[in-house]
Structure formats: structure tokens, C-alpha cells
Amino acid sequence: MDYINAYVQNVGRRLPLKLRKDVEMELHSLILDAMEEKYPEAEGEYTDDQQLTLLKEYDSPAKMAAQYTSPHQYLVGPRLFPTFKIAVLAVSGALLLSTLVAYFVNMQPLPGGGFDWIALFTAFLEGVFASVLTAFGSVTIVFAILERVLPDHVKISLQDEEWNPKELYLEEDDERVQPVALIFGVVFIAAGLVWLNFFPGKVGFFSYLSTDDFHGWVGVPALAPVFFSDFLPLINVYWIVQAVLNLVLMGTRKWNRVLRTLDLANAVLGIVIVVQFMNGPAIFELGEAVNLSGETLNAFTLVLDILSKMWEIGLVFILLAAIFGAVKRLFRIFDVDLENEIKRLAKIK
């Protein structure tokens, strides 16, 4: 395995985008210089053991990356981030468990016996969503404060002094694409397009009904007509462009500037769609239900209320992620292949 490249990548991944490629190239060159001096007999062909032995003399990727960045660049820096991730998982897990236990303990049976499982489940989801968000925010604030007040020698990281170069992994070339992921993308987009455009009434809740006159599944549409008139056309465009992009990438197997520009334009369209969702009318609305009992309809209404609230909160995160994704795509467009540029300039000299 190319441990040297893996090390360089792992350092670069922790650096700001504008610094990344430059530092990766310099670091790669410097490590090769050190390898040449240490193992001159290898003539550039280094074994895994040789690479691992040399890399052990270097700081862990997190520590190396931290040296390149100013201390307050991050909300939670590379030294504390691994511990932060574990803290978020641990707190979220504990909250989930305690919420589950609390709901089981406080369950009230229905007057006629039994439990209203749907109502309990939806109430549980509501509680979990709110408490996990609060926990995440609290843990982030605590670690952001620690990042700024803790002296460097106290900052604990699980990737600290005893790091093992054997645990490094090498990411595939940034420009190459994953055909399987692209195929899955096209399949899911096609399924989504067909479902929403040709079976709009099938987007909703289903209940199995068994009466004297009728046995079978009954569906209740959950999307409001305004979704199909105001939002679906743009979603269709977004999905079709994405599918075409995936198909072209399956052919080229590599990104280029034109495809990245198209990808960026589609990402911007995605942002427009999310903003429209945020400013537009509600998209969830229980349609006409035939043959369903009042109890079932109430349960569906409850779930839809929860979904609507989660959707409203979720849109904020989707928008942030979409903006971040668009900015990242923008940087990638201008991320000129530095090594070739330097070789070109060297030839000019």
C-alpha cells in the first residue's frame, strides 16, 4: 500500500481547501526526500515496512495538520475532533436510550385495553429529534470553548502520540468516479421520477383493510396538490440533470471542468428548490381517505404533523448542506492540477 500517499491525504483532509493541495504536494516531496536518504538502496521502490518505519518518525496526521493551521481556525480543531465525535455519539445514544425507557415506563393503556403504538411511536420520534438536536448543540458549544481555553499539551486526542501508520487508508483519486454509486443514483432518480410523476396518489400512508366487503391495502395521499404544481417541475429538472450527469460520468469515468460546472449549476438549482420549499406553502396534506376508520386517520394525521415539523426544521439543515456542497463544488472547479501547472511553469523557465 502507498502509505506515504495515505499519510499525505490524511493530513490534507484536515486542512482548509485553499491550503490542501499545495501542502500535500510539498509534504509528499519532503517525505520522499527523507525516504531516499534513509533507504538509498531501494531506488524509489519502498516496501511497506520501510514506509511505515519512516512515517512513525512523523507526527500523526491530525497533529501535523494542526501545525499548519492557526489555532482558532476551527470551531472544534483537529486535535479535539475525534473526541468530539465520540462525545456526540455517546450523548445521542444515551439520550435515545433514556427517551425510549421513559416512554415505555410512562405508557398508558387505552381504555379498552392495549396500547396506541402509532401515537406512542410518533411522540417518541418527536422527543428524540428535539433532544438529539439539543445534545448536539450543547456538546458543540462545550468543545468550541475547550478548543479555545485548553492549552495545547492538554488537548486530548485519540489519534495522539501513539498513532499507527498501518491504520492509514488511501482514498481513491478525487477526480475518479464510483460507477456503482452513479448507477444507484440513476436508478433511484428514475424510480423517484416515475413514482412522483405517474403515481402521485401513491405517495402517502397505507393501511390494510379487512371488512365484509373489502380486503386489501388502502392508500391515503400525503402530498398536497401544490407540491405537484409548484415544486415538482423544478425537482424533475434537478433530477433529470443529475441523472444525465451521472450517465455522462459513467462514460468519462473522470470529472472535468465542464462537468463540474454543470454539477455546480445543478447544486445551485437545488438551493433554489430548498428556498422555495421554505418560503412556499405546506407540502403535506392528507388526501381523501375511503373506508378508513377515524382512529387510523387520526394516527395518520398525527404522523403527518410530526413529519411536517421535522421537514420544516430539516429544511434549514438541508439548505446549509446544499450551500456547503455548492461552495465545495465551486472550489473544485478552480482547483487546478497544481503538479502539472508547476511542471508547465518549470518548462517555461
Binding site: 516531496s29 519532503l30 527523507a34 512523523y58 507526527d59 501535523m64 501545525q67 499548519y68 508547476i342
Partner: protein
């Protein structure tokens, strides 16, 4: 000296050395150097500096406006060369003067204790 004292001394010596790193690095950059050649040059002079400290330090000094850098391709390997610019030369001169003054003052203090 017992183990604890040795450890404390080593820590304090490291702190002393850390304080001289910038001056040591700047002093070797009147001539163009790339990271690894600079490390070797300093090691030959008895200044052992960690790669994780030296390479980011060069970037920081450049960001502070003391060094200029340029990429060069040798034997198909790109290398980033650093050199003191005008500001760096001035800063080095001032740092050198400050260092000599400090050494003289500390020497006097140490002589007095004796």
C-alpha cells in the same frame, strides 16, 4: 539528578530550544533552501528540529511576509524553495541583535549568581 529532575530539565531545555527555532531557521535562509535540505543543514549545525515543526513553520514565516517561496521541478520532483526577502533580512538582523543582547544579559545574571 533523579528521573523527575531529568524530565523537568529536558522539558525546560526543549522550551529554550523552541524559543531559538525561528532565529535558527531564518539564519539559514539567506540562501535558497527547500524543507528537507534546510532540516539537514540545521541538523549538521547541531539544531535538531522536528519535520512537524519545521515545515509548517516555513509556511507561517512566509505568511508573515518574511520569506518568498517558489516551486521548482528537479528530477521530476516538485520542490518548494524558500528564501529570505527584504523584510526577512531586516527582521533577521533585528532578531540577531535582540538575541545577542539577551545572551549578554543572561550571562551577566548567571555570573552574578555564581
Amino acid at each position: 539528578m533523579n528521573e523527575k529532575t531529568t524530565a523537568i530539565t529536558q522539558n525546560l531545555v526543549s522550551e529554550l530550544r523552541r524559543g531559538t527555532l525561528v532565529l535558527s531557521v531564518l539564519s539559514r535562509l539567506k540562501q535558497e533552501q527547500y524543507g528537507y535540505s534546510l532540516k539537514q543543514c540545521l541538523t549538521e549545525e547541531g539544531i535538531d528540529i522536528d519535520q512537524g515543526t519545521l515545515y509548517p513553520l516555513l509556511r507561517r514565516l512566509e505568511k508573515q511576509g518574511l520569506l518568498d517561496s517558489d516551486w521548482s521541478v528537479e528530477e521530476n520532483r516538485p520542490r518548494r524553495y524558500y528564501k529570505l526577502n527584504e523584510t526577512g533580512v531586516t527582521v533577521l538582523e533585528e532578531l540577531t541583535a535582540a538575541w545577542k543582547e539577551m545572551v549578554s544579559l543572561v550571562d551577566k545574571l548567571l555570573e552574578k549568581e555564581d
